[in-house]
Symmetry: C2
């Protein structure tokens, strides 16, 4: 289904980390002038399209990825073929941290929207982090963040009846409470995130629309009635 793309086809340039527009929030935020001189391998940038894989579970982990824009899903599979989306990776997040320890990737990382990524060779990050404690701390923060996310997915998105799970997911997807909009995923992905079937996901979303908890704005965009959704969770 999802085709792995030779990175060449998606290559979109060589990054200038010093000038990076995400510099504030990005892994390399704490780098000093002198550190940049130690980056010998160029940092490449890519653009990927929905359905393409950033990496696959089991691949030798030799690089990490900073998401500059877009969304990536991390997918794990059970022996019987069942799949579960374990986490989402958003703008300014780093994924593929396993590479830092020389371990193979543990998920399929599959792009859900057009996505720009920077590709950080594990060896480069290893070398830099040996001498720069700030980067060190920054790495721990990323790992902490991933773990918090993982725990939240378990308690919020895999607990209770389907309506509550969907409600919690929607509230999670709305970043700005003043402008409560979000982009919703395909029903299959919804199911894989919440541990329910695509039909149940579809039915519940449809029901929310009828109850005007959701208003469709076109092209997968929805307005969310956060207040009533929250009520639904406390009753």
């Amino acid at each position: 289904m999802n085709i792995r793309v030779p990175f060449k086809e998606a290559w979109s340039g060589e990054a200038d980390c010093k000038q990076c527009t995400l510099r504030e929030s990005v892994l390399f935020a704490g780098l000093r002038e002198s550190d940049f001189e130690k980056i010998h391998h160029p940092i490449n940038q890519f653009v990927l399209q929905p359905g393409q894989a950033l990496y696959r579970a089991g691949d030798a982990g030799d690089r990490m990825f900073t998401i500059r824009s877009g969304v990536v899903k991390l997918v794990q599979y059970l022996p019987d073929g069942a799949q579960r989306i374990v986490r989402l990776v958003n703008t300014a997040d780093v994924t593929g941290l396993e590479a830092l320890l020389g371990k193979p990737y543990e998920h399929d990382a599959i792009v859900m929207q057009p996505t720009e990524v920077c590709c950080l060779p594990a060896s480069t990050v290893q070398a830099l982090s040996k001498e720069n404690p700030d980067l060190h701390v920054e790495l721990l923060k990323r790992w902490h963040r991933a773990l918090s996310e993982a725990d939240a997915w378990l308690t919020e998105l895999s607990t209770g009846p389907a309506r509550q799970r969907i409600a919690r997911l929607l509230l999670r997807l709305v970043h700005d409470d003043a402008n409560p909009e979000c982009i919703l995923f395909g029903r299959e992905d919804l199911g894989a995130m919440l541990g329910i079937t695509t039909e149940t996901a579809s039915r519940t979303i449809a029901e929310f629309k009828r109850q005007r908890l959701l208003t469709e704005l076109g092209s997968h965009r929805y307005r969310v009635d956060t207040r009533r959704l929250r009520e639904l969770l406390t009753d």
Copy 2:
């Protein structure tokens, strides 16, 4: 229900990390002779009894804990009171890593069996890790391990029907395939781990016993028919 215990009551001595019997597998495995001199605060050891809390969600995170023996559950709560066990911490694992970043703990850490712990002040670990890259890597490994566990709990223990979840949990609890025994938890904890009710947990365990997939050995110990359990997962 679970009472927080002033650590004084459980205090069982001051650790000599150099002579630690877990030295091989423990966080401080990579420490050099010279590093030990930098440990100014003593490393305290404690013994806790089932039901006691190592720490509580929201507590200021100022120390991390190495489990020397026993099992600790990490619990998260939903606003409506529902609770979920998100991970277990076993012998030689470290918990409370949040403290390293100065963040409050994110779970209740509650002891399930009589448990020995070492208490590592966050400041000590921070200081040591600034200068010792081995400890640095060791920390990343712990974090990686926690994250892998978290993902596995989601895909293996929170996916599919109750029977499969329990089967997967049992297989996970058996460490030695040649001697397939495990210690089983209370039904309430089982439910909280798997996202099912205590009744369903009880019913399923009882059914497994009737089918001789499980044989009770007394005091929560069970013999597990790993082969037939695995078959159950692939059909």
